[in-house]
Amino acid sequence: MAEEYWRWTESRWTNPDIDWKKGDIITGGVDVGSVSSQAVVFVDGELYCYGNTRTGSNSPDSAHKAMGLAMEDTGMSLTDLQYTVGTGYGRVNVPFGTRAITEIACHARGANFMYGPTVKTVLDMGGQDCKAIHCDPRGKVTNFLMNDKCAAGTGRGMEVFADLLQVPITQIGELSLQVEKEPPPVSSTCVVFAKSEASSLLREGWPKEKVIAAYCSAMAHRVVTLLERIGVEEDFAITGGIAKNVGVVGRIEKELGITALKPKIDTQIAGAVGAALFGDALVKKERKKG
C-alpha cells in the first residue's frame, strides 16, 4: 500500500489529577469536522480527557469514535455524561448530543479556556474553512468572520498538498523553513490551482522545500488578509490543525508582526472544549431554574 502522507496521528489524553467519579457536573463536547473529529469530557469545569480522530464516512459514527477514544480506559460511558454539546460541520448529527452549538461560539469559548482570558483574537484554521473571531475576557464572541467559500488555508488543502509532494504532513512546516531565501508565494491557495501550480514548479526543478515554502507562504498571506477585515488585537491565538504547522504559523506571525500564544494542549480540540464548557454552563443554568 502506498504511504499516506496526509495522515496525522490520532491521539488521546486523560488528566491524571482528576477522579471523575467524584465529579458533580460531567459534560461532553464533540466537534465533528469535515476532516477530523474530537471529543472531550469536562468534570466540574476542568478538562478530564480527550480524543482526536479522523472523521469517518458519516457524522454519527465519527462522534462515537471520537468519544470512544476519549473515554478509553477511563471506565466512563456515554451515560455518565449529563449534557453533551455537538459542534462543527456534523454538529446536528451527534447521536448522544443534548444540543448543537456553532463552531464560532465553541472555538472562542475553547480558546478562552486553553489560552486564558487575555485572548482577544482567535484564528481557527480547520479542515474545511477558516474563521477569524474576536472575543471578550469570558470567551464570548464580539465579532466574527467565517470564510464560507474556499478551502484555501485549510487542513484539507494541506493534506492534498502533502500527498502531492509525498511529504508527511507533520513535516511540512519544518521543511518549509529549510529554504535559504523565501520564494515568492504560489499565486493561488485554491486547492485545485495550487496543486497544478506546485506540480509545474516541481517539474521546473524547484526543490520540494522551496515549493512547500511557497505554498505555506501563500496560505499564510491568504488568512492574514481575512484577519485584517476584523483586525487583530492581542493576545492572538490560532486553533485547529494548521496551528501545528510552524511553516504557516511562523509566516502568519511574520506578516502580522505579532506572535501567537503557544498552545499547551492539542490545538485541534478547541471546538470540543468550548462545546463541553457550554454544556457545563447550561447544566448550571438549568439547575438555577430548578
Partner: protein, 96 residues
C-alpha cells in the same frame, strides 16, 4: 456581536455584517429582501447563553452572496439597499 457572513475571493470582499447588539429579531428585513438572504432565529446561534431572537444570513446564501445581492446593486448610482432601509435600528451593513 458583529456577525460577518460571506466570503472573500479574488475579486473582492463580500460580507454582510449584522450587529447583534442592535438587532432585536423584528424580522422587518426578511420580506424586503428579494433573494431571501435573511432569516430570524429564536436565539443567536453564536451566543448560546443569550435567548433573544436575532437575524442571520441563511446558510445557503453565504457562499453566493455577491450574486444574491447583485439585483440590488446596479453599477452607477445605487439606490438604498432594501434590507438596510428596512432595518429600524441600522443593524445591517454591506462590505461592498
Amino acid at each position: 456581536m458583529i456577525a460577518n457572513y460571506g466570503y472573500k475571493d479574488g475579486s473582492g470582499d463580500y460580507f454582510i455584517a449584522i450587529d447583534t447588539d442592535r438587532c432585536d429579531g423584528c424580522g422587518a428585513c426578511v420580506p424586503m429582501c428579494p433573494s431571501s438572504v435573511f432569516m430570524v432565529m429564536d436565539e443567536d446561534p453564536n451566543d448560546p447563553m443569550r435567548e433573544e431572537p436575532v437575524a442571520v444570513v441563511a446558510d445557503d446564501q453565504r457562499k453566493k452572496i455577491k450574486y444574491a445581492c447583485a439585483q440590488c446593486k446596479p453599477g452607477g448610482d445605487r439606490p438604498p439597499l432594501p434590507c438596510v432601509a428596512a432595518c429600524p435600528v441600522d443593524a445591517i451593513t454591506h462590505s461592498w
